[in-house]
Amino acid sequence: MRVAIATAQVPFVRGGAEILTERLLGALREHGAEAEIVALPFRWHPPQKLLDHVLAARLWRLDEADRVIGMKFPAYLVPHPDKVLWLMHQHRSAYDLFGDRAGGLPDTADGRAVRDAVRRADDAWLPEARRIHTLSPVVSERLRRDNGLASTPLLPPLADAAVFRAGPYGDYVFAPSRLSATKRQGLLVEAMRHVRSGARLVLAGAAATPAELETLRAAVRRHGLGDRVTILGHWIPEREKVELLAGALAVAFVPRDEDYGYVTLEAAASARATITCTDSGGPTLFVRDGETGLVRPPEPRALAEAIDTLMADRATAARLGVNARDHLAALDLRWEHIVEELLR
């Protein structure tokens, strides 16, 4: 079977979705399919450009493929008689992130017009797919709420759970993630102002913008937290991440409405508890409060209390971490299952 993975490509930008696409490609080939990634260029600025790309998505043809797997907007709108979606996320700036500075589409007459066009495109053409799968229940819920469409989540596993290891529970909370407003590292820096124990915070990840990195650094300076907060403002190599996870007290991952959140899985594979927020989306699928981590409201004092709790009681940090690892193993997430569903 010839399978084309249709996804969007923003030139020069590479993130979790791109890595996931390549892993799916590998899994399809391992399954014996003749698979190829078709990455269609996409830019969303200015807003009119976004609509050009939606129209282009309807004009590309992948007739050589027996099956198309659509993953990202607007590439998932490409017409094909045998299309199945594994939807990473919609164009969220036309939905829940509309008008949000971090989202992209401004709340202006032009912005609203583009938003409505995006929604109409999704409403009209998403149902062309034979089946709709999503990355997670969070994405499925948005699709149900915003477009009235039913879908089934297929949760991707870690690429290689075996590389993660569990070392002694240290004195720092580790937060690996791209540094950006939506990942809310600023909330963690604020929380550190209220931490009474000797716990430290280590943030690691490339900044979405130099300004966002500087904002975090300025907050650290302003609050005199220089000796307790470390910012590794760059993409860290996998091996370094594994080591930082292995020696952490716990992991903190407090994004706003994350689609899925591999960080939580990596923490669990390293037998670390995850501290997350009630509104974090994907992470709350895995983190059960008091069982596999701590779930708190997105407030600095509440997060500080969570950090102090684990610092004061390493046995609890270890217990939650081991529970998280067992829970992840019990979920039995496998690429094989995802491929079978997408090729069914």
Partner: protein, 203 residues
Amino acid sequence: MPGAERGERAVARRADPVHGGQRGEQPVAGRRRRAHHGRHAFERPDPRAGSADASGDVELRRHVRIVVATTFVPFRPAAADGPADALAAACRVDGAEADRVRLPRGADFALAARLTDVGADRLVCLDGPAALLPHPARRVWLIDGTGLDATAVRAAVAAAAPAVHVAGEDVRGRLAAAGVAAGLLPVPADGAAWARVVRALVR
């Protein structure tokens, strides 16, 4: 094309000032490092781009961003892919940010390509159909004669003049017959020659 997304993108290359002594700069190689510094489209260019910040601990550098574009028929090898990957790699060696774009050729290809904006400071098209992509700084280097039978493709190649090169005499002859002059730039066999190709196409 928004200036905010072109050229001015700054790349923070240095590590943390707080524990700078503990963890110095990590040489995170190639595309990964660059790719994770994407700036959101709606933000303004950072005025500090290209200079160190007040504390001197962040080095911000400008990169020329180059897209190397080809087209392909899904599940079939494309002659231009190899040279395109090598050109992108040579651009990175030269200090630029480079990314590849591969467009599927199908029924409504020309219109879809015309609607597609790849961004970047430079676009280098390695086959005729890829030359249909609109871009203010478009260079063409035809590896073979793919697509040149189509009038629209020949016109798109001609519109890139004088920045039109070909890898072989046969294609140069075909373009000359259509009234398009092209420089000869064979596909190099070694690294030093790739640097010359980068200079010819991108500088």
